[in-house]
Subunit: 71 residues, 12 copies
């Protein structure tokens, strides 16, 4: 077994009508459907749409890190 690992980071944007945490979770969940070994996330930007003078959607840009299999 290797004594070191290699990780990859991808950049994902999650959105939610409800909260910043919800937008993060939507991005992490979608990402985990396609990628194994997702281990951490880092918030890059928080933004959103305004509709009728209120927040319509929160949009959170994340880097998501996962271990490369067999590395």
């Amino acid at each position: 077994m290797s004594d070191h690992h290699v990780y990859k980071k991808v950049e994902i944007v999650g959105s939610s009508k409800n909260s910043i945490e919800d937008a993060i979770n939507n991005a992490v969940a979608e990402c985990s459907k396609q990628i194994r070994n997702v281990e951490w996330f880092e918030v890059q930007e928080t933004r959103g749409h305004v509709e009728n003078g209120q927040v319509g959607h929160y949009q959170v840009v994340l880097k998501v890190g996962f271990r490369i299999e067999n590395s």
Copy 2:
């Protein structure tokens, strides 16, 4: 009708005793009272006051973007 739009961004600080989302919404709502066509926001900074060893207020610095009328 023009085939391009011009937008303006203003910098606003919202605050709330309750949550980051609430502070964002307070800023967006105040802004929309004075400006039409508010379309999006971008979080610049998140900070706050501490009172008696607990968060007293969340303060969120936002850029808020709106379309200039007739542009």
Copy 3:
């Protein structure tokens, strides 16, 4: 009495299974156990661990500012 104050900022990482606000509060509360006169915080980074395709912990890196006694 002095007509000016001196403040110090320390860098703290709070975590929570529940929310970003909770992670901030955990850091502020821990900090206030050890330091008097804590007055404000500034979020530096928001990140977290992923477990089983969901957010396991939010981790929030803060600067926390307090007034130096007798300054």
Copy 4:
């Protein structure tokens, strides 16, 4: 007459189907309709929409500086 001036900077987003320069000019022209003494601009961000695998619009975020009258 004062021996010093005061300037203000506002943040504007211009767009164009044609070029980055055109998007800058659209923003500067719109701005000059509403504000006198516009003197300079600084590009903050260049971005755009994609439509059918091609650039649909260039969007350029500018700071635009003007001298405050009678300052």
Copy 5:
């Protein structure tokens, strides 16, 4: 149908002998051959090669954003 979307951003470098806009378009077009639902781009860096005292190639580093299918 979901009430929220998830997007991904990839980092691409386009080049052109002619112009910055051309370099952006080359990157966007190449990207769109391989990825569906490309919706926006953000310029990260503009640079290039010099040949015989003149610009040989413009190189533009872009983030390109697309919606993840079925998200």
Copy 6:
């Protein structure tokens, strides 16, 4: 009375032949002629003109924050 406030930040450039503090004060004073409730400033950039091998003017770019009335 509201339990939260909303603030706005504007970007101003002050100048002075004498000192950086003087340039800040010129900007703050001009700003306060036009806006009520100015509460704080943040220096963004310090620069200036050179004339005959000496500093001719200091120019200081500030963000100036004020509370929005009735917020």
Copy 7:
């Protein structure tokens, strides 16, 4: 043959018990197993774990650039 190329950049984290160079090489080697035409890297962050008061692992976050085939 095209007179321009398109490149892609991916973000990788290499680690090593020995040195920063070793961590870079581990990331580059792993990346080259999966991707052809890897041409350059850019270090984004250098960090690591501490074990028993000594560096346990160096972790280096890299962007790795490669030419897209047939571009």
Copy 8:
């Protein structure tokens, strides 16, 4: 005697009604009451309060560096 030294940096905010230099000196002096071997400072931010349309206090955020004893 060791052929290398280890230094620590702390983040301090000084204030003054008079000048930026005075705010720096107040921070450095307070810091030196509590810490030996203070060797250098680095300005991080310059900001302040406005009172009655004039600068009330300058606030300067510094990093202050000192050598760790016996290192």
Copy 9:
């Protein structure tokens, strides 16, 4: 012959009434009159003057890189 090269980067500002590319080319051409082996450029800032409500000049701040002779 050496198995490594050393490069130097200088910071230049080009201007043009016509386009950003033209401003870059003017800077690169001027630089190449005085320096041999100019190999690449990196755009740092794009800005300009406004005259009569239109862009008067584009100004582009570049870093220009060249190989040091005999290195």
Copy 10:
């Protein structure tokens, strides 16, 4: 036992005549003499002194993170 931890980060500068890794290790070792539970480091800056046309010392500025006891 708590289900969350609080960490603190301190900023340290290590130096070495030999290598960057050695400067990191000197800082981490000194830090671990005084602080328990040191878990990670993040390189902030790499710099150094030049003596007689050669590197005299490498100086590496680190943030070092440790868990607060009983948190």
Copy 11:
């Protein structure tokens, strides 16, 4: 006569026992002894040495811009 100019920027560090403005002036004056057509400066960093618990020297890192002759 050319309808455009080319400028160069150099990075200089001025110091003074007295004030930040003095350190800037020392750098600008030294620079102007060697270079013609110096037109502007931009402060990059402000730092200094501490001696006996007081500021010993202010050090200001500047970019200084000048027009290239005959450009």
Copy 12:
């Protein structure tokens, strides 16, 4: 003798097949052939070429500082 010094910083890129330290040393040595009184360096970027799935060259971008003679 003057009670203050003026320094200049130049930007240099060193390269090496072997290590980051070697690339720094190559740049510092080349620089010192042409400039007297070189006193310090600051690493700006670390990057490199990949050849056959391995690091071919490390490239380190440095600022190198030296005292201006007779300042």
